[in-house]
């Protein structure tokens, strides 16, 4: 890693999701040297885990592929996977950054042949599918992974399984002695594009996520609907694999709530509306009920809401559901709450419930000793008085993919200005 030559003319982009990739590409294509860091073993971030974008319902892989192609073609971008920032110091035009690289145990000789996975017997929870299934401990994160290179789970290093994987590899690509490494970078500007985490639904204890098996979250639904998901794209009940007849969406599960995320993430309403399409496509007779406080489908996205409302099988009920109780025998879920339009008490049974959880930022605060402004929730505030470090995409505010890309482009310009100003 010592061959990473950086100066105070370089731009550091932290986070290799759609925002980070966009920022890196826009800055590099304008003629600046960029280092891109990604924590996961692959680029693409949360977008790779989505089934379809709203409102066009097109697959995210297509836009990502174009970006990966641009990335490969651009010598000004150096990118690192399994890389995290351990510390940032300095000021605009002169930052020192400490980078930590976790061991992948697979080097660049890997061809993606998959012989190691065949040899490996140990299995681990699949993080790509939010733990809904298992994968071999020697794995390709997902079928479309970029870079197309396997990863070994640290749990098998030093075991028989690790040795089996090494022996199975014909290309000498497995290096069980790999250690965590670190190196230092210089940068003139930093774009923080670390994205978001789904809010932990288990914290909303009255919904029983984790205990009630058929209560899932919106991000899990994306994986379930996806061809490369745990069920091969078929949406079924997690408890028994049965087809669904009656499903509920609960909006604002832990959002707009001072006990959880006090803000509105702005995307979960349309994301749930989109997911009603996944269900209605697979199940022509399935009843869908959306429980909401307000449906926030803003601007042109309101057309999408109007389109979903025309579907007779999709009902909208204005209610913040208060309790979910599981029927032990059937795994069905009883939802209770107040219909705030009619004042009636609701008690209704569903096969499956999807919690629309919001976006929590991956904050910069814990690693940054340089001056940077964040709002009270940990999103970067892009305060003009504290130039040099900029947020992009969901690290700056919760938003959708299209807005993240716009925001990333503007962050690239800001970063370039930070360097040009000197």
């Amino acid at each position: 890693m010592a061959d990473v030559q950086t100066t105070n003319q370089s731009i550091l982009v932290v986070g290799g999701g759609i925002s980070g990739i966009t920022t890196a590409l826009e800055a590099a294509e304008a003629g600046y040297d960029v280092v891109l860091l990604e924590k996961n073993p692959y680029l693409g971030g949360r977008v790779t885990q989505l089934h379809q974008y709203f409102p066009k319902l097109c697959p995210p892989s297509c836009g990502l592929e174009i970006n990966f192609k641009r990335l490969k073609a651009n010598p000004r971008i150096r990118f690192f996977t399994m890389a995290e920032v351990a510390g940032i110091s300095g000021k605009e035009g002169d930052y020192d950054v400490k980078v930590k690289i976790s061991p992948r145990y697979v080097n660049e000789k890997c061809t993606g042949c998959g012989k190691c996975a065949e040899a490996c017997t140990a299995e681990v929870d699949n993080p790509f599918n939010y733990g809904m299934d298992k994968i071999k401990a020697a794995y390709l994160p997902h079928g479309f992974a970029f870079p197309m290179r396997y990863v070994l789970d640290p749990s098998i290093v030093g075991t028989d399984d690790g040795k089996k994987c090494k022996d199975a590899c014909q290309y000498d690509a497995i290096d069980l002695d790999m250690k965590e490494t670190s190196f230092d970078l210089k940068a003139g500007a930093i774009v923080w594009a670390t994205g978001w985490n789904p809010y932990d639904a288990a914290k909303v204890e009255y919904y029983g996520f984790g205990e009630n098996k058929n209560v899932i979250t919106n991000v899990m639904m994306e994986r379930m609907a996806s061809m490369n998901g745990p069920t091969g794209g078929k949406i079924v009940r997690p408890s028994d694999g049965k087809e669904i007849k009656n499903i509920a969406f609960i909006q604002c599960a832990g959002s707009r709530d001072e006990n959880h995320l006090a803000y509105c993430s702005g995307i979960c309403c349309v994301a749930s509306l989109k997911q009603t399409r996944y269900i209605r496509e697979q199940y022509p007779d399935c009843e869908v009920t959306v429980f909401f406080i307000d449906i926030r489908a803003l601007d042109r996205l309101e057309d999408f809401y109007t389109m979903v409302k025309e579907d007779q099988k999709v009902k909208f009920i204005k209610s913040k559901i208060a309790t979910i109780t599981e029927d032990g025998a059937t795994g069905n879920l009883v939802l209770e709450g107040e219909n705030t339009n009619t004042g009636e008490q609701i008690k209704a049974t569903f096969d499956m419930v999807v919690l629309a959880t919001g976006m929590a930022p991956n904050s910069i605060k814990s690693v940054c000793s340089a001056d940077v402004s964040c709002d009270e929730y940990g999103f970067i505030a892009n305060d003009p008085a504290k130039a040099g470090i900029y947020g992009a995409g969901c690290a700056r505010r919760p938003t959708d993919v299209a807005s993240s890309v716009q925001d990333a482009t503007s962050s690239a310009l800001r970063a370039i200005q930070s360097i040009a100003r000197r």
Partner: protein, 193 residues
């Protein structure tokens, strides 16, 4: 009902009811109504009470059963996404009603009175005498009848060591407790009536 809209009642509540101003934060999500264990007994759940206040429907609010039914289980207060202390508001409204001479559920108010008196006298609740006193408020014959109806529960409580045969004794430090209760009353927060 646009013609009946009257902001003066909301103002009255904000100014006079304990925690009354917190109502301003309500966004009408209804989780209080869905969480309340007594929701099926209430004429208006908390969310609707708050709306009625904003709409100036004084009579409906002050005469509602709901504001007297709260058992202080705290579910609504814990879950309220806007941090409204819903139970404080409900109790505040009940107190305000009593001050104004509106006692929609005489039984509840009387029970509260007896409860308070007993706490003031001995510092704890005597599970035998409190229901008896409360029942006798209905009159001698119906009082005895209600008490006999409750006997099976009393026997169970006795068997589970939740009730003694002898009268309960005063707690230690009853004088200090009374000072606290007097002070609470002085602040307008104490005394069930």
């Amino acid at each position: 009902m646009a013609g009946n809209y009257d902001p003066s009642f909301a103002k009255e509540v904000f100014d006079n009811v304990d925690s009354g101003e917190e109502i301003k934060m309500c966004m009408q999500c209804g989780i209080c109504a869905g969480s309340c264990p007594l929701r099926h007994e209430m004429d208006y759940p908390p969310r609707q009470i708050f709306t009625l206040i904003r709409a100036g429907r004084r009579d409906e609010v002050m005469n509602s059963k709901a504001i007297k039914l709260c058992t202080s289980c705290y579910r609504c207060k814990v879950r309220c996404p806007r941090g409204i202390p819903v139970i404080d508001v409900m109790h505040g409204l009940a107190h305000y009603g009593i001050k104004k001479g509106i006692i929609p559920r005489k039984g509840t108010a009387a029970f509260g009175g007896e409860f308070w008196k007993m706490i003031y006298n001995i510092g704890r609740i005597d599970e035998k005498t409190l229901p008896l006193k409360y029942n006798l408020l209905e009159g001698l014959v119906p009082g005895i009848k209600s008490t006999i109806e409750m006997a099976p529960m009393g026997i169970q409580m006795f068997l589970h060591h939740r009730m003694k045969l002898l009268p309960e004794r005063k707690i230690k430090g009853i004088k200090e407790l009374r000072k606290m209760l007097d002070k609470a009353k002085e602040m307008g927060k104490g005394g069930a009536n």
